[in-house]
Symmetry: D2
Subunit: 347 residues, 4 copies
């Protein structure tokens, strides 16, 4: 059950709702919506006599297992990553190396992707590698380089966190925490990220249904962190010609189901460098709020994911395409965004 409280409601209304939920042993969480009003999501139904309260603006009886993340909860969310807004109607490109290889190479990479149009820098310090014998990342050393690259370029940075104990450390250095595909159902990690004040980039598990994906987002939201960006990054398929199959159906479908921003990762979603530019276009045309891309000045020498890593020049071409496409399609499709959405704030 979802209950929206008018902005001029007495504070006793909110208190009475929370008390009613507690009396019925129902979980209750709240978000601020795009108009600044408080919306409460309750994990079940309160009797109508407990809702005879002043200032209740709207009640939605239906209960989805991802109520806080659902479109019924509020209009489109904007998530701020540092000073970059994701979800406000302007496409955002995140780019950088798969893994941070060293200080100088990261800074070079950062300058190149900024020049090519990226607005957020990505790079892995802790890497989930399928083989225990593969390079596992530079760890905190990598985080320091990332922070240095931010200072030098002004770009906010996103990097992966792999276990609950890393959340605080990574949050010290990064502007956004990334939770990878293999950890989408790592519930202790989601809970810990839910207690962070950093926004979270949540990648879809490569065999997760959209409902499972949204329930993982719900873990973060229900632990107090409303700033979640969803990322479609390819699903596992039967054709070994591709590493993964970018599932773009997910983009317009998620836009119907949730208020959270959605970005697309065509690097992992194809696994093949030559397919990335066109699939980046396709992701944006499907309605995504942005892209995340693996870029390296010399892709063949990248320490991981070389086959799917593009050059800065290709990134620049993609960026020109993103802007042209955005300009062309905006007049044709009804805006998917409310006219003046407010920034979602941590409650």
């Amino acid at each position: 059950m979802i209950i929206e409280i008018a902005q001029d409601a007495p504070s006793s209304t909110m208190a009475a709702i929370m008390q009613a939920a507690e009396d019925h042993r129902l979980v209750a969480n709240s978000l601020t919506n795009e108009h600044g009003a408080t919306v409460v999501g309750i994990g079940g139904s309160l009797p109508s006599d407990r809702l005879d309260l002043p200032g209740i603006a709207r009640v939605v009886a239906a209960h989805k297992p991802y109520m806080l993340a659902s479109s019924e909860m509020r209009g489109p969310s904007i998530v701020m990553v540092g000073e970059v807004a994701v979800g406000d109607g302007t496409p955002v490109t995140m780019a950088g190396p798969c893994v941070i290889e060293g200080r100088d190479s990261l800074i070079e990479n950062a300058l190149l992707v900024r020049e090519a149009g990226a607005r957020i820098l990505r790079g892995g310090a802790y890497k989930p590698r399928t083989s225990p014998y593969s390079f596992q990342g530079l760890g905190e050393e990598g985080l320091r380089y990332l922070a240095e690259a931010r200072e030098l370029t002004g770009m906010p940075v996103v990097t992966e966190v792999m276990e609950p104990d890393q959340v605080e450390l990574v949050a010290e250095y990064a502007d956004m925490l990334q939770i990878g595909s293999r950890n989408m159902a790592n519930f202790p990690l989601l809970k810990k990220a839910g207690k962070s004040t950093r926004p979270v980039l949540l990648k879809r598990g490569f065999s997760a249904t959209l409902e499972e994906f949204l329930m993982s987002a719900e873990y973060i939201l229900s632990h107090g962190n409303p700033n979640v960006i969803l990322c479609e990054r390819g699903i596992r398929g039967f054709d070994s010609a591709f590493r993964f199959n970018l599932d773009l159906n997910a983009v317009p479908a998620l836009k119907e189901l949730t208020h959270l921003p959605v970005i697309v990762d065509p690097s992992h979603g194809t696994g093949r460098r030559s397919l990335v530019p066109r699939m980046a276009m396709a992701g944006m045309a499907a309605g995504a709020d942005g892209l995340i891309l693996e870029v390296h000045p010399d892709p063949d020498s990248a320490m991981c994911d070389a086959a799917q890593t593009i050059t800065p020049a290709t990134l620049a071409q993609i960026q020109r395409g993103v802007e042209a496409l955005h300009g062309a399609l905006t007049p044709v499709f009804e805006p998917m965004r409310a006219p003046e959405p407010m920034v979602a704030a941590a409650d």
Copy 2:
């Protein structure tokens, strides 16, 4: 092995190659390429001394199991459907009802989709239905209505053929034969379509790899019909939220592998009406040569595939989007088409 013969080569060269292939018991087929030259595909390797002939312009030693369909064979093909060129750089939209329900409704539908920007009319007379108790189509009566709709609208028509014995009959009425997803590996049907002079719209099996898809096209080409359009229409996935998962990775990947035009079917590829417009855009942005869409003036009353059928008004919106997107992306991406490709001709 692929051998290109110069246009000024003596005719003895072609004869010698065919003889050499016969001597080595290798299959040999030829196509005309985009420059008007003859290219021979041979199912194996000829010894070099048999190739010491005047007028051999190019030899490719590698042998793919879909040699005639491969990019090594020739530059991009254009397939003429009636007077409409598919693959010449201008996007082509095919639209109409899932199944032909009657004469008047088909003609109404045809006029509406033409008005909305479609250039080829689709409609099923013979329908492969999963249940034996579902409506199986009007058969030849439907074909007659289709021909009548063509007369009235000037649009060429495409309709499905389900078995070898129907090929000649359907070819009498239709401008293009459609082979559906469930028949992609119906080899007797492919062989028969390969002997037709009509172009063939070949839909990808919903669990077929790209290599299998191209080998099915090869069945048609190797039986004499070079005019094949490939259609990505969604693959079977694990999330029951979608009927199928439109696999757009296939579009740029096919563009690398084959010279045949590629179109996208976002109706079957999503199974959900609300997702069709955005996925149509995504398909075009991925590099497709056109779209095929199920349209009905009153989708909810459509006799089949109602859930994925759009209105003519939505088709018009999609068409505006296709044109805007095409204009925006063409300057950004290198043309995937040769500047003045020649029309592929039946040999």
Copy 3:
């Protein structure tokens, strides 16, 4: 709606039911059940006043899209292949080469598999090959060798039919028609096989749901042929270590849904020779009525499917395992078969 008519009912009852179905424009088909009674499957609901008839033994209101094939229709069916009963509680092994390579080799193969315990001979005369350049089978010549092998060994034979026009020819030579995985949804072929008097071995499409599989069986049953054996032969999966993933869940699930016998093909279901014996055991333990296996005296030299073809010695080991397993499990599990099932007869 399913209506069972008592054996002592007046013939007017059957006539009245068929008339009622016609009046309501509902399809109606009948089967004989395991007690010799007639059971009518109707594609919808008749009003109760039309069923106020003498000798109606049972009415099932629910309507499944595969009503004739459903367990509601009758108890377990036994299908006779020549004089071999499939589905009577005794496991049946079908074995032989993937493709018929010649007269002598087929006869040698037949003698070897009979010696190893097989009771039905398999072998392809018409082969669906993914590549147009692969050997496509000996055609009618192969059928003649098959008939000769039957004469010499006494074993009934099963062979594939690929298109409607082949059904009559193949039925002249073979005791059972096989419809392959790629043709499971070839509806014209299913209809034609439904008009044959030969039993049909219907293989599951490698990406077909069980409901789709049963609706394909329903095509055959509803066109008059009650003698269908279902075959699980592996589904397409994401791990390229296997050709297909044998989906044994399908076996007990089909046993709940349908009265038709179910066999398992561990050759295609694994694609790897070394896995066949254990997966044959697993298939029988899952409750299958039999197996179909690709066997060759010299598997490495087999003209198709060499990697999954076993030797006659391995077949003999499997056969010993099948018998030991059958003896061991029969006392533990309630018989899945009625004590004295009657042979299903064409109506």
Copy 4:
């Protein structure tokens, strides 16, 4: 590269190998094999002149990314869970509730499953639930009940661990740590479990290839813990009739690839109670070393996974089937186990 050292080799040989690996910056780990010899797995190739050492019994040049887990490393491993041997040729059944619901119900359940033939008790104290609003388990309280049930029944216990920080706590109470399907690629958790002295039950990710599965086992082995049992528990498929598709091909395939014991979970692998007994038989017939099953005295009232939970009476039937099947198949198939395998010990 794998190097086996003879038991009578001087200790300097082992030291020299480790030094050579260090000099070449290659990772090196060792296991004891079934004959008591030390086998070293090295993540690359040492030059032959560094291997000119006394007492080298065997060198395998090939390098798999799961070298310690590979069949090249040693013969079949036996893993001791408390005093129960898994992998010694006698099938082992693990059973109990999905989630520990309370002290008394757990003890009742434990007594019932022991009576029905189970030898190891399962039960979840920490539960990974897709929804944040589902019951998440009793936590440490549940672990205490589990320990109490062990005292009362004598059965060793296995329970899930969800994050690195829980490993030590769970290891205090449990005889075996379970790592669930969703955590198969939770590498920090695998590393931590690799440092535990408890054996680990590693469930296959529901979309993991066998190679990925074995690399996850390798994480545990390469961190020092050789006692890993693999569990096939179903993969995600396209037919919503099943929760998962039990992938029994994996069982004989894993037996070829690895020395680790393999068990099967037909509860999750089907998601449907009625399919569990037959699929349990199929799993054993495929060559598994044991089963893990969800059992509840009143399945419909189970707090989680009710649809796939069986009664103790069904468990007893399964156990009778397991024993009958084991007795029947053992004489038919060559023993997959060495005659007198030694217990694998932590080195």
